[in-house]
């Protein structure tokens, strides 16, 4: 058969970036559907003597372990019948109605079942979801989180990139590894670099849970996030976990004064082949409720590492915004995704970020890649450092606070250099494989790991193991820095260690300012109730956002 004659228009379209993305039709039986699967249960509740005896069409005797957990710990039974008697549409309207205060919405949503939460979201279009986010996020002032990783796990480069990320305004920085045994050094690099860039920066090392807790208790990290919860029993069990074991882990962090949040997201269950035919958003509603029931202050969601799955099916990106909103409506801090590559198309990339960027969330990205994406060991973020001037321009174009600020080349170079030199001093003090002056210089001026050399990896790994064996703590690091003349960084580190004693940053949605002041949903609660209320950008902050260094100054012409 002769080749069908092709339209030149269609040939052009097929070569556009969007055609490299995976798009898949819904497959309801396995749960490859974003919202509203016909297999999702219908909302219902029955409370007897303060106990949930029926939920979403199932009697207590038939609850799986997740249902039992959320029925016992997540649902405010004193309000349940009042809240559940309202229709999904009525509840959806309350979310966007500026005349219904946030507290009233929160009171009712704390008593809804997973199926009801998913049902409310199904009533909302994307703009309504954004309007509701503006009102429902816990903390009034938005903020941002960055990824700081290196394809070579290069400790000097990591410290320099951490310093730059903190300087640019990220209040939290997160790392992970290419080679897992490098983890102690990655934590050390972010701890030091973060405090160089801006004292008060919170840092974490996303790794195996036992290790993550251990380095947190040592003071090498300031918070944790990679404590995953799932929406079906089988995925939980596959990871040797239950909602109770995750709660226990959460309380271990709290007992040591360490901030932590859970992680979940649409698509994980179907990615692991165990969605039991339910929609992604319904299962995610269960995850948010498990988080609430565990008493944890916040949640990272917005699909996260499984975004290729909801991103491939219809209404998937809307579902992702909806899961952020469910989290806010349950009064939890949300670190709202935007943290993983999901599209080859720049247009889709930007559009995916709009629902969190314009309304603002507690942490708009979780996180933004503070390195080029080739160094992003979370397998790439939706935005990377090479997009940062676009991001600054968007803040300025729309007068939106996205948490970042313009910086000069000189101050970035100075911060990177100081962090690299501090790492050099620490390595020498602790007897780790030396960091040469050349490595300091390369890391200072680098864009990514292609611009720095390769270290002796087996020797570094032996030293990293020694750091763990010898029980090095944050205070040891502070002492060594003070001894080597980095007294300001040492003081910042000691301030961070003291935070675990006062515990203020365990409050919902907390971040720490340079002077040690903690801002959270307690002292910076969201008071949005329509135009003129809620977050109002200060003159000072607006001047900062306006001042992108590459704008032409009319006075100079």
């Amino acid at each position: 058969m002769a080749q069908q004659k092709r339209s030149k228009r269609f040939e052009v379209l097929e070569n556009r970036a969007v055609h490299k993305d995976g798009f898949i039709g819904e497959w309801i039986d396995v749960g490859l559907i974003a919202m509203g699967s016909p297999n999702d249960p219908k909302p219902s509740i029955k409370v007897q003597n303060g106990k949930v005896v029926e939920m979403d069409g199932k009697t207590r005797a038939n609850f799986d372990m997740i249902e039992q957990f959320v029925a016992d710990y997540s649902i405010d039974t004193s309000v349940a019948e009042e809240a559940m008697s309202k229709s999904c549409l009525e509840l959806a309207r309350m979310l966007v109605d500026i005349n219904v205060p946030r507290d009233e919405v929160r009171r009712l949503f704390g008593a809804l079942t997973p199926a009801k939460l998913a049902g409310v979201m199904a009533e909302m279009n994307i703009v309504e979801i954004m309007m509701a986010m503006q009102k429902m996020r816990c903390r009034q002032t938005p903020a941002n989180q960055a990824h700081v990783t290196s394809a070579k796990d290069h400790p000097v480069l990591l410290a320099a990139d951490a310093a730059e990320a903190a300087l640019r305004g990220f209040v939290e920085i997160e790392t992970t590894v290419g080679v897992v045994r490098y983890a102690p050094f990655n934590a050390l690099a972010l701890l030091i670099g973060g405090q160089v860039g801006r004292p008060g920066t919170l840092s974490q090392d996303a790794l195996e849970e036992a290790f993550e807790l251990q380095i947190g208790m040592r003071g090498l990290t300031a918070y944790a996030e990679t404590v995953s919860v799932y929406g079906t029993e089988s995925v939980f069990v596959d990871g040797d976990d239950t909602p109770w074991s995750k709660s226990f882990l959460a309380s271990a962090y709290a007992s040591r004064g360490l901030k932590m949040r859970f992680t979940s997201g649409t698509g994980s269950e179907v990615q692991m082949g165990a969605a039991e035919g339910r929609s992604m958003l319904y299962l995610e509603a269960r995850c948010v409720m498990v988080t609430k029931g565990a008493g944890v202050q916040g949640l990272q969601n917005g699909s996260i590492s499984c975004i290729g799955v909801p991103g491939a099916v219809p209404s998937g990106i809307r579902a992702i915004a909806a899961e952020n909103l469910i989290t806010m409506a349950l009064d939890l801090e949300v670190a709202s995704g935007n943290d993983q590559t999901f599209s080859h198309s720049d247009l889709r990339r930007v559009a995916r970020t709009i629902p969190q960027f314009f309304p603002g969330t507690d942490l708009i990205f979780s996180g933004y890649s503070a390195t080029p994406n080739y160094d992003n060991m979370f397998a790439g973020s939706n935005w990377d450092i090479e997009d940062v001037d676009d991001y600054l321009a968007l803040q300025r174009d729309f007068r939106v606070d996205g948490g970042l600020k313009p910086v000069s080349e000189d101050e970035v170079i100075a911060a990177r250099n100081k962090a690299a030199r501090a790492m050099q001093a620490i390595f020498e003090e602790f007897g780790f494989p030396p960091i040469t002056d050349e490595e300091v210089e390369l890391a200072t001026y680098a864009n990514g790991s292609k611009d720095v050399g390769t270290r002796n990896v087996p020797e570094d790994l032996k030293a990293a193991e020694r750091l763990m064996k010898e029980g090095v703590t944050g205070i040891d690091v502070a002492k060594a820095l003070a001894k080597r003349g980095f007294r300001d960084i040492a003081a910042a580190l000691v301030m961070m260690m003291k935070q675990r004693v006062s515990g203020d940053y365990l409050q919902t949605s907390a971040w720490i300012a340079s002077d040690g002041t903690v801002y959270s949903a307690v002292n910076d609660p969201n008071t949005y109730q329509g135009p003129g209320t809620g977050y109002q950008m200060s003159e000072e902050r607006w001047n900062e956002i306006k001042a992108i260094p590459w704008a032409v100054n009319p006075e100079d012409i």
Binding site: H19, K20, D21, G22, F23, I24, W27, D29, V30, L32, A151, K152, G178, V179, V180, R181, L207, E208, E209, A210, F211, D238, G239, D240, G267, V270, Q271, M272, G273, A274, S305, C306, I307, G308, V309, G311, A312, V313, Q340, T341, F342, S343, H344, N373, Y374, D375, N376, M377, A379, G380, S381, D384, V457, P458, L461, K462
Partner: protein, 217 residues
């Protein structure tokens, strides 16, 4: 993407056919197709005593329902390269099929626990691999290769070689990490489909089986 689309349709069609016919998911490995390897189950996998062995764990669908990885590396080639990597370090290889989980970390940890050297490798049908050691936590690892689309034959050889070096008590330089930020948008939906298929063969009550592998042609 054309091949991938075909694969997606094939997987969906196969699974739908199963559902339509009401046939239960098979609890043991189905008949071999043209994977280039023949795997014969030799009974329940036992704990090894030879300190010079590395145990490789594969899923029930490996080399049977599936015959190649997400980027079309034939399963025969995957095993040939891993075996070669192990053997060029002078060590022996033993292969097990794990039925109770399709979580690659737990599979590899199971392999490590059965391995005389305490070192195991886990490989999923789509290629995702991990080197594990018996005394580590299951979700930790010695080396992890999470991005299946980036695993080529030489990487599998390097994985075998490094696993053997760990078994000998050496501290090898880890296999250089590859990272393609665009692998997810291109392949994750497909990976989800493949994993749903892979997970259909899980049998929580079935112990790991030792298998012998012969290469055809």
């Amino acid at each position: 993407m054309q091949l991938s689309q075909e694969l997606i349709q094939k997987v969906i069609a196969e699974v739908l056919a199963e559902v339509m016919n009401g046939a239960p998911a098979p609890s043991s490995a189905p008949e071999a197709e043209v994977s280039g390897i023949v795997c014969t189950e030799k009974g329940k996998a036992a704990r090894g005593t030879d300190p010079r062995e590395v145990v490789v764990a594969v899923t029930p669908a490996f080399g049977t329902t599936f015959t190649k990885t997400i980027v079309d590396v034939p399963h025969a080639e995957v095993l040939r390269q891993i075996f070669a990597g192990i053997e060029e370090e002078g060590l022996r290889v033993r292969v097990i099929r794990v039925y109770h989980t399709a979580d690659v970390a737990f599979m590899a940890h199971q392999a490590a626990k059965l391995s005389g050297s305490g070192i195991g490798i886990g490989v999923l049908s789509r290629g995702t691999s991990i080197i594990h050691q018996k005394d580590l936590n299951p979700l930790s690892n010695l080396e992890l290769f999470p991005q299946s689309p980036l695993l080529d034959p030489l990487t599998f050889r390097a994985i075998g070689k490094n696993a053997a070096k760990y078994a000998k008590g050496e501290q090898p330089t880890p296999v250089p990490t590859k990272n393609d930020p665009m692998a997810r948008p291109r392949y994750q939906g497909l990976a989800a489909l493949l994993h749903n298929k892979e997970a259909r063969f899980i049998d929580r009550n079935k112990a790991p089986m030792e298998i012998s592998v012969t290469f055809e042609g």
